[in-house]
């Protein structure tokens, strides 16, 4: 685990990835790497928990678009939880929230995705 990813767990068929700190290119690449591994082993449902990433940049967030593209090919899903106000606003402006739901907690996210 890198210092940009705090936790990875699987629950009810959903992979929950909790990020840590500034969500920049390094953090985005770390999430992409976990995503690629999990997708190879057959996972298609992902919940990204950003409780500890109150600050992001568009380079990090752009990497999430790559994940959305890959998930579309396998009819998978990605959702987010615990977004800071400015992070959700950024996702809105970029249009990411057209393709991904935002849930209020990890529990709700797992329930809705699974």
């Amino acid at each position: 685990m890198s210092d940009t990813i705090k936790n990875i767990e699987e629950k009810s068929g959903v992979v929950v990835i909790s990020t840590n700190g500034y969500f920049n290119n390094i953090a985005g690449d770390a999430v992409l790497e976990v995503f690629n591994q999990k997708m190879e082993s057959g996972n298609t449902k992902f919940l990204i928990d950003m409780a500890d990433s109150k600050v992001v940049n568009s380079i990090g967030v752009s990497i999430l678009i790559e994940i959305i593209e890959k998930l579309q090919a396998v009819d998978g899903k990605m959702a987010f939880t615990n977004l800071a106000g400015i992070v959700e606003k950024t996702f809105n402006i970029m249009g990411i929230t057209k393709y991904c739901e935002v849930y209020e907690s990890i529990e709700v996210g797992i329930e809705k995705l699974s």
Partner: protein
């Protein structure tokens, strides 16, 4: 203190833009701006810093904060290559989701949406982004 100014000279070190977002937080608190506005200012600063670091081909950038009664003005300045803003495409997610499309290219759009006013002054001796956030009467 009347109209305090902060000036930062920052070299290209990973994450050094966080120095500027911390400055924005302290100043926003001093000005009594909402948490929402503080986040918007910080994000706009991050994007402008990253652009200057990535594209201007210089080794350092300058950030000025100018506090006045009715607004905060932030300038992000580099002495680099400059660019023609009219040639920059407006991004949209549907195009970005096409195979092989470059996923990047959101910075200018984000800054435009997050701040009240944004101006680019760019030529072969560099780029100055001047952006403002208004303070409401009840803030």
């Amino acid at each position: 203190m009347k109209n305090p100014e902060v000036e930062l000279k920052l070299p290209v070190i990973p994450d050094i833009e966080l120095t500027a977002t911390k400055t924005a937080e302290v100043i926003s608190k001093h000005m009594n701006l909402s948490e929402e506005k503080t986040g918007e200012i910080s994000m706009a600063i991050i994007e402008s810093c990253i652009n200057a670091f990535e594209h201007s081909k210089t080794k350092e950038i300058y950030i000025h904060f100018i506090v006045s009664d009715d607004k905060l003005t932030v300038k992000v300045i580099d002495r680099g290559t400059g660019f023609d803003k009219s040639k920059v495409e407006i991004p949209n997610i549907e195009n970005k989701l096409k195979a092989d499309a470059r996923k990047r290219g959101w910075g200018l759009q984000l800054v435009a949406e997050l701040m009240d006013t944004v101006e680019y002054d760019s030529n072969e001796s560099g780029t100055t982004v001047t952006m403002t956030k208004k303070k409401e009467n009840n803030e």
